[in-house]
Amino acid sequence: MDPARRLALFEQSIIPHLTAAYNLARWLTRNADDAEDLVQEAYLRAFRSFETFGGTDAKAWLLTVVRNTCFTWLKKKGGQPAVEFDEQVHSGGEESTNVETVLLNQAALGSLNDCLEALPLEFREAIVLRELEELSYKEISEIARVPVGTVMSRLARGRKRLQKCLGGAL
């Protein structure tokens, strides 16, 4: 394909999802400067492998590239080890929900962002993709390259941790 035409097509379909890309990178890296650099890098990577874009779901395709760019960087940096949770071992290990925590007030809501940042990387990824980007379980499973069951388990356990965190902030 003619490079100019390829670029035009890429910009037309992929640039509109810049905000989603940045939001994901920002939540994964927890740092504004790193997120900006990584999004830029991810866009270059995406452009170079534009052939792999099936043409249907530009947002999920771009977020996959962003996600992989961030994970590669995080692993290389080593400061944020990508903790692979053994879903079997860890599930059910947490205490049952304290129903009082449902009564959240403004103070608790204020600490929501801190609680979300404090989540382990895989849980944070699942929650951000699900609640903020409103992707389906299937799309998340493709982006994170894990089975749908694992996505659901990560979401459930991420929410529990969030809830516990918010409850503690009361």
């Binding site: 940045y22 939001n23 929410r159 809830q163």
Partner: protein
């Protein structure tokens, strides 16, 4: 579900509540978690870097081209090597033919010129770690013997004559192989094994007479 209902469910210890709490967290995140907007200028930076990307062939692209050229060269070379790989027996045949022609071209045909097998045979003693069978072959007078070198080890050359033709019979120890005959550049070659040795007879003699020589030699 609002908080009033949730409170009542708490009081009645309704098991459906936990499920609600979880989905409620989901709602809380959706409505209250921070959604980071891309910084101003990021889009411009990205568009700029994409422009650069298409305006000049970047190193990665050249590296990809170089890598594929190397790969093709390597594949071609391997295919060529595979095609040119020859049967080890053909290599031996080339050596044998070369030795035969060399012996005729120079002045060094015979180390021990003798028609007496009892002179030729002992001459090899101490020069070889095997005893080549030196035999009289009727109609093919023994002319003598010579030392040769094949496949990195010494070999015996027994020279027989037929009219004006010379037959080199090369002998050296080797694993047994099947009998074979071939013609190259007008020279006939016959090879066979026996007693832990391999024999190669080569001559410009016609094929029938060379076969006759080999047959008689092997029978004796």
């Amino acid at each position: 579900m609002n908080c009033e209902i949730a409170r009542r469910m708490t009081e009645t210890n309704d098991p459906a509540l936990e499920q609600h709490v979880l989905s409620c967290v989901s709602c809380i995140v959706r409505t209250n978690a921070r959604y980071y907007e891309a910084p101003a200028g990021l889009e411009r930076k990205i568009r700029q870097s994409l422009r650069q990307e298409i305006s000049r062939p970047l190193p990665w692209r050249w590296m990809a081209i170089a890598a594929s050229v190397l790969l093709m060269a390597s594949v071609a070379w391997n295919v060529a090597m595979l095609r040119s790989r020859v049967d080890p027996r053909q290599l031996v045949a080339s050596d044998v033919l070369s030795a035969h022609i060399r012996s005729l071209a120079g002045t060094h045909l015979l180390d021990v010129p003798s028609s007496d097998q009892h002179t030729v045979k002992p001459w090899f003693n101490g020069k070889l770690d095997f005893a080549p069978p030196v035999k009289d072959v009727e109609g093919f007078p023994l002319l003598g013997g010579r030392l040769e070198y094949f496949a990195g080890r010494p070999a015996a050359a027994l020279i027989y004559g037929r009219r004006n033709h010379t037959i080199n019979l090369f002998v050296w120890p080797a694993a047994a192989t099947a009998d074979a005959s071939q013609t190259r550049n007008g020279f006939h070659m016959e090879s066979w094994s026996g007693n832990g040795m391999v024999f190669w007879a080569v001559s410009d003699l016609n094929e029938t007479e060379l076969r006759q020589f080999v047959g008689s030699y092997r029978q004796n």
